[in-house]
């Protein structure tokens, strides 16, 4: 990882960019440059302005002040199409695909190959798409309907889009938030490839391991201001964290072993068609059980079954020792189950609704003053969780859709914490959350357990499951391979288990 040659001209340069929204100064004079063949990380807390800065580059937002230079030529970028024409490709944090269309149509949207009379050349379209998909090593083909793909696969479609143009600069806004480790490897190969072709790459992520693995330089934003650039090879996580949040973090593995209470949730022989089979486990009060596995291992589907969204084909669910049938989320909530779902935009939030109303939505029937919603009580709940989770928003009236991705995720977490559930299920709880808040959320999960909550954490991030869980359940292709206690688990045996290798349980 060499330092970029200082004699080169940057592919992209931003000078003193200012961008305001009503009540928010999202970017406050940010300057920043990307060299050809460089992977440049952009880091910062949730709401620091990273996505906004990239949207300015991508022609989605117009800056109030400041200038953009493409290869040192002052440029105005009015629309995403203009950005693309100038060789700037933007892979968004929030997916923006047409669900009803095929993978191929999504990738070539707006520029489908044509035959005579303007007819779409489907053969060419599918062939070219499959070629790109081949490079990405994915499990679906060009004709698949995007809506049928998992979030991770949809992300791969977004990435495939970037490979169809002759790019000068490619922006990745948290591309790995929903990718598995295997998919990440593919993505990093793609990035290395682009880099060797002299493309400048801006890479936004909250994951330190990745940043240190693939980037050359790291620029940090803080509260909309540029706070510095570090050379990756000459710095460390602590220094970056300092620059981001002004303090360092204690990242030690602090699994506390408080007293375990009664079994709050027990699942016996649960199956759901081909999605998962014969799953049995229990969660005690005061315990965090982690579910680790690859995307598609059936973890989310188990959570959805417990939350009344899927009918199990066999097996029983017991809450506090009593067998229950859960037919709808409303019933699950009545039984004291909360689910932080994996797709915050699709399942977690009403984007056009304000922060407060989103947070209190599941309990709006209980927060009543006479026949009306007790708005004072709602504001109190919102304030409490805004402080506890450090949610950055100008106020509860802000529409959730206007918050940064990580702050949206915190609203979802606050929404379900405020239900004070008996059983709390979190599916990828820290997706898109910055390092500081992430460790706060991990601490919070541990706190909840020690307060007697029974917690299930589904995560594709090994450090996360290792960090928060008392026990870890490894799944592979819908099967429960093994349950590890926190003493016996190691990274190696965990990786083996989620690849389907059943090592005999050592005593």
């Amino acid at each position: 990882m060499s330092r970029p040659d200082t004699g080169q001209t940057p592919v992209l340069r931003l000078e003193n960019i200012v961008k305001t929204f009503p009540g928010v100064r999202a970017l406050d004079g940010v300057s920043f440059a990307v060299m050809p063949g460089e992977v440049h990380a952009l880091m910062g807390e949730n709401g620091a302005g990273k996505s906004t800065l990239m949207k300015v580059l991508g022609g989605i937002h117009q800056p109030n002040e400041g200038q953009i230079f493409v290869e040192e030529q002052a440029t105005v970028i009015n629309t995403p199409l203009e950005a693309k024409a100038k060789g700037i490709v933007f892979i968004h944090q929030e997916l923006s695909l047409a669900e009803e269309l095929s993978v191929a149509e999504n990738i070539y949207l707006g520029e489908l190959p044509r035959k005579s009379f303007g007819r779409v050349d489907w053969n060419k379209l599918f062939a070219e798409t499959n070629e790109i998909l081949g490079k990405l090593n994915v499990s679906f083909d060009a004709k698949a309907r995007v809506g049928d793909l998992s979030i991770a696969n949809q992300q791969m479609v977004e990435i495939a889009r970037a490979l169809t143009v002759d790019a000068k600069a490619v922006i990745f806004d948290e591309p790995t938030a929903s990718l598995t480790d295997a998919e990440k490897v593919v993505l990093f190969d793609v990035i290395a490839d682009l880099k060797s072709q002299g493309v400048g790459i801006i890479y936004i992520s909250h994951r330190m391991e990745e940043i240190f693995k693939i980037t050359d330089r790291i620029s940090v934003l803080r509260d909309g201001q540029y706070s510095g650039t570090l050379t990756t090879a000459q710095t460390n996580e602590d220094e970056v964290t300092q620059l981001m949040i002004g303090r360092s973090l204690d990242l030690s593995r602090n699994v506390s072993h408080g007293e375990l209470g009664d079994v709050a949730l027990e699942v016996r022989g649960l199956s759901c068609g081909h999605l998962y089979q014969d799953i049995s486990f229990e969660v005690r009060r005061g315990e965090v059980v982690g579910f680790y596995g690859l995307v598609g291992a059936g973890r989310t589907e188990i959570a959805e079954t417990l939350f009344g969204l899927r009918d199990p084909s066999a097996g029983t669910i017991l809450l506090d020792g009593k067998e229950v049938r859960i037919n709808s989320p409303a019933e699950a909530i009545a039984h004291g189950i909360s689910l932080v779902p994996e797709d915050r935009k699709g399942q977690g939030l009403v984007l056009g609704m304000n922060c407060r109303d989103n947070m209190t939505l599941p309990q709006v029937d209980d927060l009543k003053a006479g026949p009306f919603v007790a708005e004072g009580a709602e504001v109190a709940i919102f304030d409490q969780y805004r402080d506890r989770l450090d949610i950055r928003t100008p106020g509860w009236r802000q529409l959730v859709g206007n918050l940064s991705g990580g702050n949206q995720q915190k609203i979802v977490i606050g929404k379900w914490l405020s239900m004070h559930p008996n059983v709390l299920i979190l599916d990828e709880p820290t997706r898109g959350i910055d390092v500081g808040s992430k460790s706060e959320i991990h601490n919070l999960i541990r706190d909840l357990a020690s307060q007697g909550y029974a917690v299930i954490v589904i995560s594709s991030e090994m450090p996360e499951v290792l960090h928060v869980s008392d026990r870890i359940i490894a799944m592979y292709h819908g099967e429960l391979i093994r349950t590890f206690s926190s003493e016996e688990v190691t990274e190696d045996n965990l990786i083996q288990a989620i690849s389907g290798i059943r090592s005999d349980k050592v005593a």
Binding site: T20, F21, P22, G23, R25, N64, N78, T79, P80, L81, G110, F307, L309, S328, P329, A330, A332, I333, A334, L339, P341, G346, Q347, G348, L349, V350, L351, G352, M353, D357, L361, P362, V364, D365, L367, K368, P371, F372, V373, K415
Partner: protein, 324 residues
């Protein structure tokens, strides 16, 4: 801070655009014709808008929940015919509740089909438009319906009476707007209507019973239709089978003019009332400046398109979309 406050003014403009357009229309018409701002004229406009307005209140709920209701016009004809017919048969005191029950049953049927069976609301209510029309004609045998003793019935109070100088239809409209407006803005049910229309999946994930909410919206809509039918019947004391024909589009126009999104999840009762008044005053203003009655249909359409366009333009901050 200077830049911020400029943006805030922009935000206010975007939110209150319809209100501002309304004031501008009023000023323009007043300059064109002095009679426009005459209190009698104003009261007259509001009174003639009341039937449309009452229906628009219910449709607002349906639209915010993310659905359409194109059956309200023909359902209103049904209510009117039924209550007029029963008036002479069983007396007004029984005819009114009987008509309400029948109309609510129709609303419940639509609510069941759209809410619980999850059928497309456009198809269901478009079908209902013609099915209810058929039902009305079958019921009446195609004949006009008239009350025998028009002078002697207290039934006329809903359409023709007035209290303290204010016409009863306006009072009913105002009362219903206040009640339903409070319900939408302040109660848990109202909140759920917004959630279901804004993101149905997220609403389900929040434990909201979507089907029930949609069902209730259609039931409310049919309640408003029954009320509108009552006013209509009481005002004319006799009616054709097609009295509500075409009203579904005017109602929808008023709701959209008010700024509710057809995608669901946004709109308020207050805005719908403004939309109803704009439509009423524009139609009245056009008559006063001497436009032929039938030309109004076209002008109304143009105004709706303008309103929708300006609404979208305010949201994206320019008049046309830069994205192809």
């Amino acid at each position: 801070m200077g830049a911020l406050s400029k943006f805030e003014i922009g935000g206010v403009l975007a939110r209150q655009g319809i209100l501002i357009a309304f004031v501008l229309f009023m000023i323009a018409f007043t300059i064109a014709n002095q009679r426009f701002l005459d209190p009698d004229n104003i009261l007259g406009v509001i009174r003639s808008s009341a039937i449309l307005g009452v229906m628009a209140l219910g449709v607002t709920f349906v639209v915010i929940s993310g659905n359409l209701d194109l059956s309200v016009g023909s359902m209103m004809s049904f209510s009117t015919i039924v209550v007029l017919d029963l008036h002479d048969k069983i007396g007004p005191a029984l005819a009114i509740p009987a008509m309400f029950i029948m109309t609510l049953a129709l609303g419940a049927l639509i609510g069941f089909l759209v809410g619980y069976l999850k059928l497309n609301s456009l198809i269901v209510t478009l079908g209902m438009l013609s099915a209810i029309h058929g039902l009305t004609l079958t019921y009446s045998g195609g004949k006009n319906m008239d009350i025998a003793d028009k002078a002697g019935t207290w039934f006329s109070v809903f359409g023709q009476g007035s209290i303290l100088g204010i016409p009863v239809p306006i009072l009913i409209f105002a009362l219903l707007a206040a009640v339903l407006g409070t319900m939408l803005a302040k109660t848990p049910f109202g909140r759920k209507v917004y959630a279901v229309g804004g993101n149905g999946v997220a609403a389900t994930f929040s434990g909201i019973r979507r089907a029930r909410v949609v069902f209730m919206c259609y039931l409310l809509s049919s309640f408003c239709v029954a009320t509108a039918g009552l006013i209509q019947a009481s005002r004319s004391l006799g009616s054709q089978n097609t009295v509500g024909q075409g009203l579904e589009l005017e109602v929808l126009a008023a709701v959209i003019l008010g700024g509710a999104s057809l995608m669901g999840g946004s709109g308020t009762i207050f805005k719908t009332v403004i939309g109803v008044l704009i439509l009423g005053f524009i139609q009245n203003g056009l008559l006063l400046v001497g436009l032929q009655f039938y030309a109004q249909y076209v002008v109304t359409w143009i105004i709706i398109i303008l309103a929708v366009w300006l609404d979208i333009a305010a949201k994206r901050g320019r008049l046309w979309s830069p994205i192809a």
